[in-house]
């Protein structure tokens, strides 16, 4: 018997379609179902751990405030010697075991797929909406595609990464707080109108 498809974290809370005020440029909100692995380098093994990750993912891990997007994969520094690697769920859920095997004793690869929810927020007003709760400067002169921050928004510890200059932002949230965050996001986006979009791309 194969495992059933994982349930969406926010499936019970997301109501697809247009909401809030009418307007030409609604904020687009989409849940991305992603595998998530927290890679923690062991003591004095940071380089070896990073090399192991590169071997599996072809991603070179970087330091604070940077997110690396390579193909479907995304890697972001979350705290000293800790990175989060994310990949859209494509059935197998193999990323945790691949990374666990690669890291060996150089690092812990802890499956956080169930512990994280990822929201993609995009559109012309996306930045303004996030500025209602995010203290980090998101102006394009300062924060561009590939920029990331670990920062409180709506009381929660959020990993924020910019994917493109639409702009689109990926917000990695604690799964147990994701619905609470969504409430804040919907309130904040309502003045521009927003659309809950389905699909995992």
């Amino acid at each position: 018997m194969s495992a059933p498809d994982p349930r969406s974290t926010l499936g019970d809370a997301l109501v697809p379609g247009r909401h809030g005020a009418g307007g030409e440029a609604p904020v687009l909100i989409r849940e991305r179902r992603m595998e998530a692995v927290q890679v923690i380098a062991r003591r004095e093994r940071v380089d070896a751990c990073a090399a192991a990750v590169t071997a599996v993912t072809n991603i070179r891990l970087r330091g604070p405030n940077r997110a690396i997007y390579r193909g479907d994969l995304m890697a972001v520094w979350v705290q000293p010697r800790n990175w989060l690697l994310l990949r859209p769920w494509i059935g197998g859920g193999a990323l945790p075991s691949e990374l666990r095997a690669a890291c060996g004793e150089n690092g812990s690869a802890v499956d956080q797929t169930g512990g994280k929810a990822v929201l993609r927020v995009s559109g012309r007003h996306a930045r303004t909406v996030l500025e209602k709760g995010c203290r980090v400067d998101l102006h394009p002169r300062v924060f561009a595609p590939g920029s990331a921050a670990v920062t409180p928004i709506a009381h929660l510890n959020v990993v924020l990464a910019q994917a493109d200059d639409a702009p689109s932002y990926d917000l990695v949230l604690p799964s147990t707080f994701a619905e609470s965050f969504l409430e804040w996001l919907e309130m904040s986006a309502a003045e521009f109108g927003y659309e809950i979009v389905q699909g995992n791309r």
Partner: protein
Amino acid sequence: MRLAAGGRIDRARRIEFRFDGRVFEGHPGDTLASALLANGVRLVGRSFKYHRPRGIFTAGPEEPNALVDLRAGARREPNTRATTVELFDGLEAASQNRFPSLEFDVAAVGGLLSRFLPAGFYYKTFMWPAAFWEKVYEPLIRRAAGLGRAADAPDPDQYEAMHAHCDVLVVGSGAAGLAAARAAGAAGARVILAEQDFELGGGLLVEPAHEAWRTQTLLALAAMPDVRLLPRTTVFGFYEHNVLGAVERVADHLPEPPPYVARQRYWTVRAKQVVLATGAIERLIAFPGNDRPGVMLASAAEAYARRYAVAAGRRAVVFANNDWAYYAAFALKQAGIEVAEIVDVRPETAKAIATHHHGIPLSLASEVVAVAGRKSVAGVTVRPRGGGRARRIEADLICVSGGHDPAVALASHTRAPLRWSAELAAFLPGDPVQAERSAGAARGVFGIAAAAHDGARAGAEAAEAAGFRAAAGFALPLPDEAHHTPIQAFWEAGVPGKSFVDLQNDVTAADIRLAQREGYQHVEHAKRYTTHGMATDQGKTGGIVGVGVLAKARGATVEQVGLPTYRPYVTPVTWGAVAGREVGKHLTPTRRTALHHWHLRHGGVLQETGLWMRPFYYTATGEAGWEPILREARAVRRAVGICDVSTLGKIDVQGRDAAVFLDRLYTNTFSTLPVGRARYGLMLREDGIVFDDGTTSRLGEQHYLMTTTTAKAADVLEHMDYHAQIVWPDLDVRFCSVTDQWAQMSVAGPKSRATLQSCVEGLDLSNAAFPFMAVGEGTVAGCPVRVFRVSFSGEMAYEIATPSYHGVAVWEAILAAGRPFGILPYGLEALNLLRIEKGHVAGSELNGQTTARDLGLERMLKKSGDYIGRVLAERPALNAPNRPRLVGIRAVDLSFDRRLRGGAHLVEKPGSSESLGWITTVTFSVELKRWIGLAMLRNGAARKGQRLHAAFPLRNESVEVEIASPHHVDPENERVRA
């Protein structure tokens, strides 16, 4: 009266509004104050202490008098300054502090008693007896002295926060502010220009000659993509690290906010550089009757004439000590208002010739000593300064100008010192402490052209300080005529009488002198004793006048006396804006388990436990009170139940030194734990008090999974981080929270094994293969699970963990498997009932005061090897034999209605006030069929079998109890191993 021409109002459109029930008309561009004056309304309120009639004194946010209740019902907002309220259609306002009506106010007779309400009257009158403070005096003071009434219904509007960053924040959009913003913007800086008014321009709005420059500058700013203009935005505070707070009144000018739009927005601005172009505030002069409706700042009368095309009176007298007031006089004259006379305290002025040209009589070296009229000015009495023949001038408007105070509040918030300028008779901002600079009138550079040049300089400097290169210049207004006679400091007319220095708090010059005589000489003491400058206007128009009066009384200079400390907020901020979105259930975030919506759909009654929402029980139709809880608990004791325990803290620990780390963290040993087994662990704080408990499993040689209590999960992780990073950085151990990764459920009861055997695949659950405290992996409905044979209920039990996205699938599969055995989901109440029956400690016993020995857990303290808390746990007082120890209690009476209560004290006899201990937690036992509980009791072990009384004086209850072992059920622990 509305003037026939001029002003910045839209005469083509009319706006209807109500004041005290009467219907009036105004125009877009009006404030409530200008519209009231246009309709001839001069009496708008009663004063705070004496209930004296009051009118409109200013044309801006510094207004002390014209405070009204704005709007009605849930949107009613008291103490709103009519001078800043933008008129909207259907606006409703009411005067405050009067009964039964504004015209006839009963309490105004208090004015006759005013000699019995001296400075410090609170302290003198309401002294004793102390029993009267809260019950008599405070309600009396509040009733007599309150101004408006707050709305008592919940605010229907929304408020929100906004975080902004910029290179240069410019506060104020007068000539200096506009020029600064343009200079900084032209240099390429990201600029925010905040203006409290609904129109940008500040002093330019009363200068038709400079309108072209204002318009042109605004167009240039609008064309700069990184310049953000924020009208209706008050910067209220300047904090550490160049963080400033501001409130944008997004929808206050509308009857109600449009759908989805916040009424106000609370901005937190992080600015690399700040230009304070906050202008200056005209100050009053103290003379008897200077509070009568019709007495107004000269600049305000000018603003009403020029900006709003309103004559604030028919015939004006200007009373001044400086040349700037003459421009106001000329503006009034130009607008068609008769200016009866300018009364100047100075012996000469450079404006004398111009005054003559305008045909305005001028009295030099003179002062106003009296005002005729009560509810409206009818005339003034003028005499040569210091004495001489007094004469009366008929007038209905007295325009006062005691000079101009640079608006230094924001600069002062940064702790920048203030510097006294004798030349300007004003305090100016001194050397900056943070990355800010003042410009224009805010630093005493008066006049449109001078301020604009100063602003352009400040804007360019700020941009350069933020790393930009200033661009070429742009057109600035041409200099004004420059011949001025200096201001002469003048605080008070030289006659006795009610000369107010603080109009809003009804403080007179005599009050200041009384404070000085009674020993309150320091400006901060005099302020508090008299309440001078403590009203919502913070003494913006009369603060320094009081200082001047105090200085004279002390025989000191104004510079020596100084100003009281400025603190945020510069002007009042509504509490709604401060709260923003964080109201009601949004005060804190809500945490939901993966099974949250399943619980909701299946009758779960969810309640907050910390941030988590947890099912307390599941209701079936017709059940009441404790019935569902007892039903769920019985299911566990007799058959099987399932409970969502996903909220337990879970920490993944890995590394070569993981075992060593856990041995030090826990009081018992984990390095000896075999792989595939779990062990109960106890943690102490460094001070030897019990910190937390939970089961920890060994998943691999270098891999453990810890569980913590729900309440302490974050604290334990922080405790571990501290020790791993600071205390033992040499250990190779890494850990992270996996609380959210796993949905976890407890399956408990004599039929738990049978239930799981029919749904768990890939794991032999027989007692031999999978004994108590075993850990293994398998699948349920194809979903991977970890199975832990641990028990909190005292029954045979298992905890099943699965990645949270499989939580519902696994939960439903177990329910289906347990159906033949009568499985029921159970909630937190039944969970608690079961653990009390079993005598397991939880939050009410792990309360930060108990030791392992107090809780009967001394066997958990290992004999050899160090652990956190070991040394301090050995302190004698923590081991005193008479410390309260954990015991069980059982009600002697079997009646459900004779309940026990947590928090009750245990006493020998009913009525005794000698407490022997207290009840930590209670429940109604399904096994013993009576109320039972856990308690902390002195000499607890020795009292087993005794009878005591559980006294709960708050409800006047006393219930007889028997002292027992805390393990009410299965003390030999046989069921868990079955």
